[in-house]
């Protein structure tokens, strides 16, 4: 292997290591409104790659187009990467394909449930299914399936409000989109 080729390999390995480090850092960046979840759990990081100019590019997609958390997430990512010294980075806004609650990771779904928010039903982001109000499976406290919707909209754009009709506790449900 000649020197130039070996430098290229080094460079590629360096980029892969830097991207891997970036993913690790991103896994520590919290969603400001649901701090139990990282931005990786939430599925809003679409890619991490090294561009031709050596800049680390993070593709970020919003959950809802008006979600105010998106700006905060952008700043948190920039700050976290800076602290980890991953070098120059750029955050791009990826609108397409649009974010889906199906992109929340398995770990993210477990964390949501442990946090007291019922995770979205899986695989219901097809238009036909969205036409019908989706129901959470069970009350996160007592597991009763006897629940009712209080409000289609909740404290953040991504959640709806429900109540358990057995233990009477209100709870939040992550909407399917």
């Amino acid at each position: 292997m000649n020197a130039a080729a070996s430098r290229m390999v080094d460079c590629t390995d360096g980029a892969a290591a830097r991207e891997a480090l970036a993913w690790q850092v991103l896994a520590t960046v919290e969603d400001p409104e649901i701090p139990a979840l990282s931005v990786v759990d939430l599925g809003v990081i679409r890619h991490v790659r090294t561009d031709a100019d050596g800049v680390l590019e993070i593709g970020l997609t919003p959950t809802y187009s008006g979600c105010p958390a998106t700006e905060v997430i952008r700043h948190s990512i920039e700050q976290a990467l800076q602290e980890a010294q991953t070098g120059p980075c750029r955050i791009t806004n990826e609108l397409s394909p649009p974010w889906s609650s199906d992109w929340i990771s398995e770990e993210g779904r477990r964390k949501l449930a442990a946090y007291g928010i019922v995770p979205p039903a899986k695989g219901v982001s097809s238009p036909r299914q969205l036409a019908h109000p989706d129901r959470p499976m069970a009350c996160p406290r007592c597991q009763s399936a006897h629940t009712e919707r209080l409000s289609e909209f909740g404290s953040t754009p991504c959640k709806a409000l429900y109540r358990c009709r057995d233990c009477l506790e209100p709870f939040e449900y992550f909407k399917c989109i």
Binding site: Y64, S65, E152
Partner: protein, 276 residues
């Protein structure tokens, strides 16, 4: 996950390169006007719904109004930022949203109508949610990749909006004598303004010819079928179509827009360049 995501983005980028932009296809003037029509509709309607915050009949409705307003303003930001780039004068979303004059807003007149009572707001919302849903579903296949991406994002949100407003339309229409009378009367007042939504002018036709936007008669047929079914379920009577007298899409608005703009623009005009 990262490999899959990268592949998706690469595919999207290829499509974007292959597709025309609205500005290439029909020229910057017409595309700017078209983007302002879409963006201003969301902006002005979002501003109206925001007026309910703290005044809704119940907490759940307050949350609903605020959430829908937030989505609409988010959509407006995407559309107006794009409009600013097409215009090419260096104006960003804030300047476009807050520093234009009355006649430069191109929203359909229906969006700026005052809230009235809750039923009146719901009727306006059903009519416009159904319009945006049918329009965005088709715009998601636009030859302009950026517009298609904004529309595909907005469709998901708009479905929730219509589910909410349609639910209330049925409850109020098929509710008490009083609630029925109120929403029927709101429908009579607002119906004539729906004609403008589908009145195609040269901009709408140029957009449709270039494959940027769907033909409005197609949107109208789908909208009418959806709205008719909802009105039937809500036991409401569809008013007769009339010729329309307002042309907000061309910058000729009802008296109500000026008051809305005074409220909405106050902060930016009093403290120019103010930021959060």
């Amino acid at each position: 996950m990262s490999a899959a995501a990268t592949a998706t983005t690469a595919a999207t980028a290829t499509t974007a390169n292959a597709a025309a932009t609205a500005a290439d296809a029909v020229g910057p003037r017409a595309s700017l006007a078209y983007l302002l029509r879409l963006g201003d509709l969301s902006l002005v309607l979002g501003q109206r719904l925001g007026e309910w915050v703290g005044h809704s009949p119940a907490l759940e409705e307050d949350l609903g109004m605020a959430n829908i307003a937030l989505d609409l303003i988010g959509q407006a930001r995407l559309l107006l930022s794009y409009a600013g780039e097409v215009e090419g004068r260096g104006r960003g979303e804030d300047e476009i949203a807050f520093l234009r004059e009355h006649g430069e807003y191109l929203n359909a007149t229906l969006a700026e109508q005052p809230n009235g009572d809750f039923g009146h707001t719901i009727v306006r919302q059903v009519l416009l949610d159904a319009f945006q849903l049918e329009l965005y579903q088709r715009l998601a296949a636009s030859a302009d990749a950026r517009l298609a991406a904004i529309a595909a994002k907005s469709v998901k949100e708009t479905r929730y909006h219509l589910r909410y407003s349609a639910g209330w339309l049925v409850r109020l229409g098929d509710g008490t004598e009083e609630s029925h009378a109120r929403v029927q009367s709101a429908l009579e007042r607002l119906w004539p303004l729906t004609v403008e939504l589908f009145a195609a002018d040269e901009i709408d036709r140029a957009m449709a010819d270039a494959g940027i936007a769907p033909p409005l008669e197609q949107v109208r047929a789908a909208w009418a079928a959806r709205v008719d079914a909802l009105l039937a379920e809500a036991t409401l009577e569809r008013p007769r179509d009339q010729s329309h007298a307002w042309f907000g899409k061309q910058g000729q608005h009802s008296e109500h827009l000026g008051y809305l703009l005074a409220e909405m623009q106050y902060m930016q005009r009093t403290y120019p360049g103010a930021r959060w």
